[in-house]
């Protein structure tokens, strides 16, 4: 058994030494921990007796402390220990350069890395993981392990009725959006310079708004949009190379997966933000596009930067962004509203997205798209999702307008059943938020735990499906204050974990700041905060009050009732128009973008 001497040269603190002693003993070493304030002479004398494989010293570095450490090294050399005993030092501010100057064989800083310590003791190279040598991280499947079996037969029956009617209604209907998606797929299959591609593009432009046509024919760019230049593109890969490893937000367990959203407007800045999120532990990313893009028929093309929120959906932009995303991260491209929903799914799949986003009722109200149009486009998009084999998430952000959760969840369930019928894999996204409805009804006066618990737990009474609270969690609880914002996000993430969420989307600490784009440091802040709170909670949990159960019962009943109303209406699209999935009283109106564009 090899011996290791641990020497805290610090006169007071030896906690690092005690921890290391325990870990080394567990690993089979004879770890001798000397008391705090031990002198170099005492360390060497002990080492001459024990003949250790290594002496590990801990001390916070300061100016004159360096001489103390180098004195130990010198004494070890003079005593003839060095050929057989390795000398390692750990502590604040000890860098590799300082370690070399002091004469040590190993330097340890940051969190305790036992594999590195053991490799050092055994005189094995401490293998610095590089992107090539780090074990390949497997991209998780959020839907794995879920049967999608309905547990509430009444709800299942109602959903079956509703979705059958909808699928029947959309049969033989098309829109400029579905046509453009078909043309886009065909164009992607053609060589770049082929005449067939040019012909298809001309047909594509026939389905586009004049502004989009003008871009392709005359090269005119919308306001605030510019081309990325070659220099930017050449310098970017150096910054966004694969990282060998990243921090983890989770402390115990493999769930929830942590998603963050990006969409600065510039794909270069997005790439940097993506690398920041990746380094600080994100498992997945969501692409946010500008809302004006969703209101035009047709998508732009090429590498475009945009000086307002949302990064323009073009295949080249998506591919550039994809190149910055590590292979093991999940990537979701938003396309749940607007006039380009089907084509967005085509581009997302072509660029390598892992998840799509589709929600007809939300996109047709809060997303301002005409319900009939989005019903046609949405069903087509679900068919694409099924064909591509990509799961799709269903955001529930209509609650932010004031819609009660039972209505939002009714919509999420309709989309869930619709997706399942078409062969796709849905992931409902109940929103953990302090919505206007909650404020008015006083559902969250005492705490934020009970209502959110009810909202997540009710799903397990209805269907065995992955639940992914977003986007982001804690919506409307954030303020511009960095600490408060990070804390509330972290608390919601911890609660989501406790409630078994498969994934969670978290904001930056700039979430409530509206006067400028999100900063990189704001992203780091919430990821660190979430990491800290998940560490704090570990395997422990939250204790909702009895109100949570009552709210859950009410919610479940409300969902049933709303689905009964929708089923009774017998026309899903009409149900949206008439407010059954969110009414003017709730703060929602049916969208108008694309009205009258559905074709039989």
């Amino acid at each position: 058994m090899k011996t290791v001497i641990l020497a805290p040269l610090d006169p007071v603190h030896d906690n690092a030494v005690k921890l290391l002693q325990r870990k080394l003993t567990e690993a089979g070493y004879g770890a001798i921990a000397l008391p705090p304030g031990v002198t170099a002479e005492e360390v060497i004398e002990r080492a001459l007796t024990e003949k250790p494989a290594a002496i590990l010293v801990s001390r916070t570095l300061g100016y004159k402390v360096a001489e103390t450490l180098s004195g130990l090294v010198d004494l070890a050399d003079a005593a003839g220990l060095r050929p057989h005993t390795r000398l390692g030092v750990g502590g604040m501010a000890v860098t590799r350069e300082i370690g070399a100057e002091l004469g040590f064989d190993g330097v340890f800083n940051g969190d305790l890395n036992m594999p590195a310590v053991i490799a050092f003791i055994e005189n094995r190279p401490i293998e610095m993981a590089t992107a090539d040598t780090a074990p390949a991280r497997i991209k998780p499947d959020l839907t794995a392990g879920y049967s999608y079996r309905f547990i509430d037969p009444l709800i299942e029956g109602l959903l079956d009725q509703i979705t059958s009617q909808l699928l029947d209604w959309v049969k033989a209907k098309s829109s400029p959006g579905t046509k453009r998606a078909q043309l886009r797929e065909a164009m992607l299959a053609e060589p770049e310079t082929s005449t067939e591609k040019s012909r298809l593009q001309e047909q594509y432009l026939q389905q586009c708004d004049l502004e989009i046509q003008s871009f392709y024919r005359e090269g005119s760019l919308p306001d605030g949009v510019r081309w990325l230049d070659q220099g930017e593109l050449e310098r970017l890969p150096g910054l966004t190379a694969a990282l060998p490893q990243s921090l983890s937000v989770r402390h115990v367990g493999e769930r929830p997966l942590i998603f963050t959203q990006y969409g600065t407007g510039c794909p270069v800045m997005d790439a940097v933000h993506i690398k920041v999120a990746e380094a600080w532990g994100a498992d997945g990313l969501l692409h946010f596009d500008p809302s004006w893009g969703a209101q035009r028929e047709g998508l732009l093309d090429g590498l475009l930067s945009h000086e307002h929120d949302g990064t323009i959906l073009t295949l080249d932009n998506l591919r550039l962004i994809r190149s910055a995303i590590a292979p093991h991260l999940l990537w979701n491209v938003r396309g749940h509203r607007g006039l380009n929903t089907p084509e967005t799914q085509v581009l997302a799949q072509a660029a390598g997205a892992d998840l799509l986003k589709i929600n007809i009722p939300y996109g047709a109200t809060g997303g301002a798209t005409d319900p009939a149009r989005l019903a046609v486009d949405g069903v087509y998009s679900l068919q694409l999702a099924a064909r591509y084999g990509l799961p799709f998430d269903i955001p529930g952000n209509d609650e932010l307008s004031g819609v009660p959760p039972y209505k939002t969840f009714a919509g999420l369930l309709v989309m869930t059943m619709l997706g399942l019928k078409l062969g796709a894999r849905p992931i409902p996204k109940p929103l953990m938020c302090y919505s206007p409805y909650m404020m008015v009804e006083g559902c969250m006066e005492d705490n934020f735990i009970d209502m959110n618990t009810a909202k997540l737990r009710v799903w397990s009474e209805i269907i065995d499906a992955p639940i992914w609270p977003g986007e982001p969690v804690g919506f409307m609880t954030h303020t511009p204050d960095r600490v408060q914002s990070a804390m509330t996000t972290a608390a919601h993430v911890a609660l989501a974990k406790n409630l078994g969420a498969a994934a969670v989307t978290m904001a930056s600490s700039d979430e409530a700041y509206s006067k400028g784009p999100i900063s990189a440091q704001a992203r780091v802040d919430t990821l660190r905060a979430a990491r800290e709170l998940l560490r704090f909670m570990g395997s422990a949990g939250f204790s909702p009050t009895p109100a949570a159960d009552r709210l859950q019962v009410q919610l479940h009943a409300g969902i049933r009732q709303q689905l009964q109303l929708i089923a009774k209406r017998g026309d899903f699209v009409a149900a949206i128009y008439e407010g059954l999935l969110g009414s003017p009283e709730d703060g929602l109106h049916p969208g108008r973008t694309g009205r009258g564009t559905v074709q039989e």
Partner: protein, 359 residues
């Protein structure tokens, strides 16, 4: 080949400045040069203080032993010759030749055995003079060098009398009389010699703590004519032994393995107390081996930390007073401020032959 170690009493005492001065004179004399360091030298900015550091600029043809990861850290173009069997925090040590002159970073073997191997390889390459730059107050690897330059100054202590006392004590250590062994003595045991010249050994070889001193004292039951401590020793432990075994050790020879074994432990001034007490008891102190201390260099500058700025800046003590104080205590070897002009004949001081230098 001659190797000169540049050691310091602390960080920022001017080791590299002294080495650079010798480098310049050696280069003018046409000597084939080798450079290495037992620490980390040649960087632009000090890693602790953030202050600028003197940089190595090596002429073409200079051989260096430095770590793989810093081969390209300077502007000099280095041509690797072989990888040595010594490792550092910056990878294995590489023997290389300066193909194009420029600045260098030196991270060489950090311990005696590694330095020994590096010097052998440099010697095999026909180097005339190797400069071994030190690190902080580290001395032990220099035991295998042919000579030593010791740098001290205000970075050790800002009180001039303290600098002078300490330098004097260090000088005493390196000028202890050398007693060649009569035969082959074990290096892993204390050796007692009785009045008849008969030797016996006691387990242990280093004397570093009072506990160890008491244990050794208990083993010395009768008066001895000699006690050999081959390993490292700490002065307070030795003092404790002397006080504990006064009647046994009075008039005896106390022989240490090496002057460097004494210099590596505690403040050299504490050894003066040992020598004075030994003298009062007619105990004669010897070392088996030493390394010639050729000169002492002085640096009046020191890094001063100011709370207001949160940074270090250079301050200085009175350079003339410093020189006078140290020269007054050390008369057997030269004492110099390397920045004084004109520069002395350093090669002469270091006993480095310049005639017949290899081209």
């Amino acid at each position: 080949m001659i190797s000169i170690g540049f050691a310091g009493t602390a960080k920022n005492t001017g080791k590299t400045t002294a080495a650079l001065a010798v480098l310049e004179q050696a280069q003018r004399a046409g000597l084939r040069l080798g450079l290495t360091s037992i620490g980390y030298d040649g960087e632009e900015i000090d890693h602790i203080t953030g202050l600028p550091k003197p940089r190595y600029f090596a002429p073409a043809g200079t051989l260096v032993t430095t770590a793989r990861d810093v081969l390209t850290s300077g502007s000099a173009v280095l041509q690797p010759i072989e990888t040595l069997d010594t490792s550092t925090l910056f990878g294995p040590v590489i023997l290389a030749e300066v193909a194009q002159p420029g600045s260098l970073v030196l991270v060489g073997p950090n311990h005696k055995a590694g330095l020994h191997s590096a010097l052998q390889r440099l010697n095999a390459q026909g180097v005339d003079l190797v400069l071994v730059d030190g690190a902080l107050n580290r001395l032990a690897p220099m035991a295998i060098c042919d000579g030593l330059v010791l740098s001290t100054g205000a970075a050790y202590d800002q009180r001039i009398p303290v600098i002078a006392d300490h330098a004097h004590a260090m000088n005493r250590l390196f000028h202890l009389p050398v007693l060649a062994p009569a035969g082959n003595l074990p290096e892993d045991a204390f050796i007692l010699t009785n009045s008849n010249g008969k030797t016996s050994s006691i387990r242990g070889s280093s004397l570093l703590t009072e506990v160890a001193a008491r244990e050794l004292c208990q083993q010395i039951s009768k008066p001895v004519s000699g006690l050999e401590i081959p390993g490292v020793s700490a002065p307070d432990a030795v003092l404790h032994l002397i006080e504990c075994a006064i009647s046994q050790l009075a008039g005896a020879q106390l022989v240490f393995g090496s002057a460097l074994h004494l210099a590596s432990s505690k403040d050299a001034r504490t050894w003066l107390k040992v020598f004075n007490r030994a003298q009062s008891l007619r105990i004669k102190i010897y070392v088996r081996e030493t390394i010639p201390l050729r000169c002492i260099t002085l640096n009046p500058l020191y890094p001063e930390f100011t709370t207001r700025s949160g940074q270090y800046q250079y301050a200085q003590v009175d350079a003339e007073k410093l020189r006078e104080a140290v020269s007054g205590r050390i008369i057997d070897i030269p004492v110099v401020n390397m920045l004084d002009k004109p520069q002395p004949d350093l090669l002469g001081w270091l006993d480095i032959p310049v005639k017949g230098a290899k081209s």
